[in-house]
């Protein structure tokens, strides 16, 4: 999940908010939350469609982590919240260090067979993974009698995903769309 705060504040809007009853303020925030939720959803879909670099590089199917992400909007009289439920989305706000949750090392897929699949899963499906002595990767042999092996996962104690601010709409877009939703609410008599 991702927590981020965008503050929309203009003298006009602040004045209106001050005059609003808590119920009206909650309605206004609901409109803003809905608008921002749709803005984020549209952005994620468009972004994800053009960014399946890892999957494409490996010749694997995209996992759909971003394009299928659930985006929830909620609000009350104190503000509007949009929640993006996608692993790794936090890198939109800055570099994201990842450490192993289970196991001793992160397993970073470098072969199509490993993309979207865990070590345990591959082993349970008969892929005989092994770690060559002194090496920091896991490999397997397609032909057990062959001397050649395929590197499947790199093993890392941690890794850092680079900051990808473009994962989410920029703050100016969010603020403008929130203001537009507020303006519409007021114009339509929601004040």
């Amino acid at each position: 999940m991702l927590d981020a705060t965008v503050t929309v504040s203009t003298p006009q809007l602040d004045g209106i908010l001050e005059r609003c009853s808590p119920e009206r303020r909650a309605e206004l925030h609901r409109e803003i939350a809905a608008e921002l939720g749709e803005t984020v959803r549209d952005h994620l879909r468009d972004y994800a469609l053009g960014h399946h670099k890892t999957a494409r590089t490996l010749g694997a199917d995209p996992t759909g982590n971003l394009e299928d992400a659930r985006v929830d909007a909620s609000s009350d009289d104190g503000g509007a919240t949009v929640t993006v439920r996608a692993l790794g989305i936090r890198r939109a706000l800055g570099p994201l260090e990842i450490r192993p949750r289970n196991g001793k090392a992160l397993t970073i897929p470098v072969a199509a067979i490993a993309y979207g699949r865990s070590v345990a899963y591959l082993k349970s499906h008969g892929v005989d993974l092994f770690r060559p002595k002194g090496k920091d990767y896991l490999a397997y042999r397609e032909n057990p009698k062959s001397q050649f092996s395929t590197v499947v996962y790199l093993l890392r104690a941690r890794t850092t995903l680079k900051h990808e601010p473009e994962l989410l709409p920029d703050r100016a877009t969010l603020a403008a769309n929130a203001a537009e939703a507020a303006r519409d609410f007021i114009m339509e008599g929601g004040e």
């Binding site: 409109e31 659930r70 929830d72 865990s118």
Partner: protein, 186 residues
């Protein structure tokens, strides 16, 4: 039994089976799907955990959890509809929201069949755009035209494994498409 009949029979089995799983999710899969939908588990963990408790192929597990996730995504979108959103964005466009190795190429036929079945109420004939309350969405989900892979929901995904989803359409565009009167109600 001809190959066509066999194909239809297999499709029926797949559809009935997937429907049963997707709509009446196996209890052992429920916490896994919930964690996946909540963004607490990645697909690799989902496949690993699901394979431990659910005897099915990877394709079927993917099929179930991804369908559930897309349905949850659409339900979130529906739940976020407000008077303001309906006023400013009265329509949806059916667009590709997920990449597929082999995308369906029959959406024009599906759209035409669903439109014909509903008299094109609130729907464009030459663009995949319709008002949010158009019956065309339910017809798409019901597989109007005889599409047996339809899921039965009036929201995306309309067919099993489909990557098509909704994109909101502004009032200005809906007006230019003739779906709403200028300045009037949808």
């Amino acid at each position: 039994m001809t190959k066509k009949e066999l194909e239809e029979k297999l499709h029926e089995i797949a559809r009935a089976g997937a429907l049963a799983v997707a709509r009446h999710l196996a209890p052992e899969l429920r916490p896994i799907v919930e964690a996946y939908n909540a963004g607490e588990m990645n697909l690799a963990e989902v496949r690993e955990r699901a394979a431990e408790v659910f005897a099915a192929s990877e394709a079927k597990i993917d099929f179930v959890v991804k369908t559930q996730r897309r349905m949850a995504q659409s339900l979130g979108q529906l739940a976020a509809q407000t008077p303001g959103q309906l006023r400013r964005y009265p329509a949806w466009r059916l667009v590709r929201g997920g990449t597929r190795k082999v995308p369906r190429d029959d959406w024009d036929l599906r759209w035409a069949a669903a439109g014909s079945a509903t008299g094109w109420q609130g729907a464009c004939t030459d663009d995949y755009v319709a008002l949010k309350d158009s019956p065309i969405w339910a017809a798409l989900g019901d597989g109007a035209g005889g599409y047996r892979d339809a899921i039965g929901n009036p929201f995306p995904p309309f067919a099993f494994g489909s990557g098509m989803t909704w994109q909101r359409v502004s009032r200005d565009e809906a007006e230019s498409l003739g779906l709403v009167g200028e300045g009037g109600d949808a």
